[in-house]
């Protein structure tokens, strides 16, 4: 039973988070910062696109290094 539950959790983790968990954490932090600034009255539309570019570059660079 425990093994099946672990397998089920593993499947959804792989489905949504994938190979690099830092990407998921980075997206959550970027959206949280955007929300916090919006509540403070700042239209911080640029945070998420900037975070996406940084996260993508860092993630592929890390993956390429580990494969070299």
């Amino acid at each position: 039973m425990i093994t099946r539950l672990k397998g089920f959790a593993r499947f959804w983790y792989d489905f949504f988070v994938g190979d690099d968990w830092t990407v998921a954490v980075g997206v959550v932090l970027a959206l949280a910062a955007t929300y916090a600034l919006s509540v403070a009255g700042v239209n911080a539309w640029w945070i998420t696109p900037a975070a996406v570019l940084i996260l993508l570059a860092a993630s592929v660079r890390r993956a390429a290094r580990s494969r070299n």
Binding site: D19, V23, L31, Y35, N43, W45, T48, V52, L56, V60
Partner: protein, 245 residues
């Protein structure tokens, strides 16, 4: 959101997943037993319909801002996964997805697996392999179609795009009876990764309270920005690995 952009994104994403599932169905049908393979398809589709029936109304019940923040965030994480893999493939750091190779592997595994049926299914191995493939690839299709449709307030367009993509790919697969290796799958995955990231960014930030400059036009700018950066990243990684070898 533009219906054409919604249609195109869902169509491309669903076509890519359908190509992968079709390869497995063809391999199992060819090497094992067509009736069991097609039963696996039917059982997988039934499960996916049940998932849509539960997920669709549940998603529609969430308030729009919360839905956009949650779904946008998940789509963005999902899209970054696709784009990351696409950049690594394009730069030679990950093997390109090759339907011919997948077909040969599946065929070899199917030919060496033991025979035997259960209940109404004459070949249990073929049935379970096809069922798993249809469900796994189909879950991504369902997730993309339902979230795009709900966020864009246009579930019918998303559903039609998904259905047409699946019918086209399955139809071509049935006619040629061979893996659809001519479909530019890796390029399509690259494009879908860019689009998922762009829409995920747009909806996620909007749900977090952002008002985008240029309104919906911001999606086009995001697609261009992410597309250009991803192409440049792939080129830079390719150049670096050539220089070091």
């Amino acid at each position: 959101m533009n219906s054409a952009a919604l249609f195109l994104t869902v169509f491309l994403a669903c076509a890519v997943e359908a190509v992968e599932a079709t390869t497995v169905v063809l391999a199992m049908g060819t090497a094992r037993d067509w009736r069991s393979a097609l039963s696996g398809v039917a059982a997988g589709l039934l499960l996916l319909v049940a998932v849509v029936a539960v997920l669709g109304p549940a998603i529609s019940a969430v308030p729009l801002d919360a839905l956009r923040l949650l779904v946008g965030g998940v789509l963005l994480i999902f899209g970054l996964q696709w784009l990351r893999k696409a950049v690594l493939r394009a730069s030679g750091h990950k093997a390109l997805h090759n339907e011919d190779a997948v077909f040969r592997q599946q065929l070899a595994a199917a030919q060496s697996a033991s025979a035997g049926g259960r209940g109404l299914v004459p070949d249990w191995y073929g049935f379970t392999v096809v069922f798993k493939s249809v469900v796994l690839e189909g879950l991504e299709v369902v997730f993309i179609a339902v979230t795009f449709g709900a966020n864009a307030h246009d579930v019918p367009v998303a559903a039609v795009a998904a259905l047409i993509a699946i019918l086209v790919v399955a139809g071509v697969g049935a006619v040629v009876r061979a893996p659809l290796s001519r479909v530019p799958e890796n390029t399509m995955k690259f494009a879908v990764g860019v689009m998922l990231c762009a829409f995920g960014t747009f909806w996620g930030a909007e749900g977090a309270g952002v008002s985008w400059p240029g309104a919906d036009l911001a999606i086009v700018v995001l697609v261009l920005l992410y597309g250009c950066v991803a192409v440049m990243l792939a080129a830079a990684l390719r150049d670096r690995s050539k220089a070091s070898s």
